[in-house]
């Protein structure tokens, strides 16, 4: 399974993942804390420029950008209809600001780097008996099984189509879940043998 990360190198690729996450967190908090249009327009302008500076790297996000534009227009029109244009502008600016920066972060940061930051952030939970280091293992397992179960789903769907001439749809959900639960027990046995825990 591929992530939205872009291999096309940009200046943002060079910055540490933790710093980019910190900027995003501060920006996200900042734009929701203010209703000053000057501040919001300045932040949105900076975000649009930052995003545009990524050039060709932004290509994979085109469908998401179209969705963002449609949502922004709908929110704007709704507030216009409610005779609250100012509130509409504030909402749209906040949305553009945070979503563009979120996309910029996703495009320019490998998910393994973000995972490392996430594990670091979760490390204090060790004092409460949690195991943040398991996150990488669990994400890897999840990705492996996403592909596996999609194949199983297609197989069950094909079998159902052969039997009935129709696609399986929701009818194959129960057999898929049973397949999955049985697989979970096998994987648990394997993990137990491998890690002795």
């Amino acid at each position: 399974m591929g992530s939205l990360y872009s291999d096309h190198p940009t200046w943002l690729h060079g910055l540490p993942a933790g710093l980019k996450l910190l900027v995003l967190a501060l920006l996200g908090t900042g734009v929701f804390a203010t209703q000053d249009l000057t501040v919001l327009f300045t932040c949105t302008g900076a975000c649009v420029l930052t995003f545009a500076s990524l050039g060709r790297a932004t290509k994979p996000t085109q469908p998401l950008l179209i969705g963002l534009l449609i949502t922004s227009v709908l929110i704007g029109l709704f507030h216009l209809y409610m005779q609250q244009p100012w509130l509409g502008v504030v909402s749209v600016l906040r949305l553009l600001c945070t979503t563009l920066m979120g996309l910029a972060l996703t495009l320019t940061t490998r998910y393994t780097d973000l995972l490392a930051v996430l594990e670091w952030l979760l490390s204090p939970l060790r004092f409460f008996g949690a195991h943040p280091e398991r996150l990488s293992l669990q994400v890897a397992l999840m990705l492996r099984f996403t592909e596996h179960f999609f194949v199983v789903w297609r197989r069950l769907d094909d079998a159902h189509r052969l039997r009935t001439g129709k696609t399986g749809g929701f009818k194959i959900l129960a057999p898929l879940t049973i397949h999955m639960l049985v697989a979970a027990r096998r994987v648990a046995d394997t993990l137990h043998v491998r890690f002795q825990r």
Binding site: M1, S3, L4, Y5, L21, G28, F32, L64, G67, T71, I75, F78, M82, Q84, L87, G88, V90, S91, R94, L95, T99, L100, G102, L103, L105, T106, T109, Y111, L114, L118, R134, L135, L137, Q138, V139, L141, M142, L143, F145, T146, H148, F149, F150, W153, F170, L173, A174, T177, I178, M180, L181, A184, R185, V187, A188, D189, L191, H192, F195, R197
Partner: protein, 186 residues
């Protein structure tokens, strides 16, 4: 079987199931309301894993979305999804799964029939009510919609979600017959 290994496997596999449900094309109701199957995954996680593991599975899934994996229906992903007007629904998923799991754990599930009835009740409360409450809070805070408009907007999805609750109960019924030793609600 070791419970720690089983937890790792179940949490990862349910996060994978929710991802797979996002890969399956959405179904449009005659009124044009789309049904994506990922909220069904939230209900199933609660019913089959119990509160703690269901919460972990949804947290893992959302962490994977946040780090940029395109696991939401329509191939969406990235931390930007948590700033969108519908992000309230996303944040409501783990809480909804926790509530579904807790109710399923509390209600009887000795026979396939009682398990299915319990699953339906748990899904309606946790998977529908709780998720929609979070969704409405998100719409009000991020899209600045008035409460009544946000509630009206979310009500459109309720018929589709009730179908998912019934589907969840059907799946639980089938699993109760197919895997009689499975402990619903953890």
């Amino acid at each position: 079987m070791n419970t720690s290994s089983l937890s790792i496997a179940l949490v990862s596999l349910f996060a994978a199931l929710i991802a797979v449900l996002g890969l399956i094309p959405k179904i449009d109701l005659p009124l044009g309301v789309p049904i994506t199957m990922q909220t069904l995954g939230v209900m199933l996680a609660g019913c089959l894993l119990g509160p703690k593991r269901a919460l972990q599975a949804l947290a893992l899934f959302l962490a994977a979305v946040a780090i940029g994996l395109p696991l939401l229906s329509g191939g969406r992903g990235g931390i930007g999804m948590f700033f969108a007007p519908t992000s309230g629904y996303l944040i409501g998923w783990p809480v909804g799964a926790l509530v579904v799991g807790w109710i399923m754990h509390t209600l009887p599930s000795a026979t396939p029939r009682t398990a299915a009835i319990s699953a339906f009740i748990a899904s309606v409360i946790g998977g529908l009510l709780v998720v929609h409450v979070f969704g409405v809070i998100g719409l009000v805070n991020i899209a600045n919609l008035p409460w009544e408009k946000a509630i009206m907007g979310t009500l459109v999805f309720v018929p589709g979600d009730l179908i998912k609750c019934a589907l969840c109960a059907t799946v639980v019924h089938t699993i109760a017959r197919g895997l009689p030793d499975w402990r619903f609600g953890g």
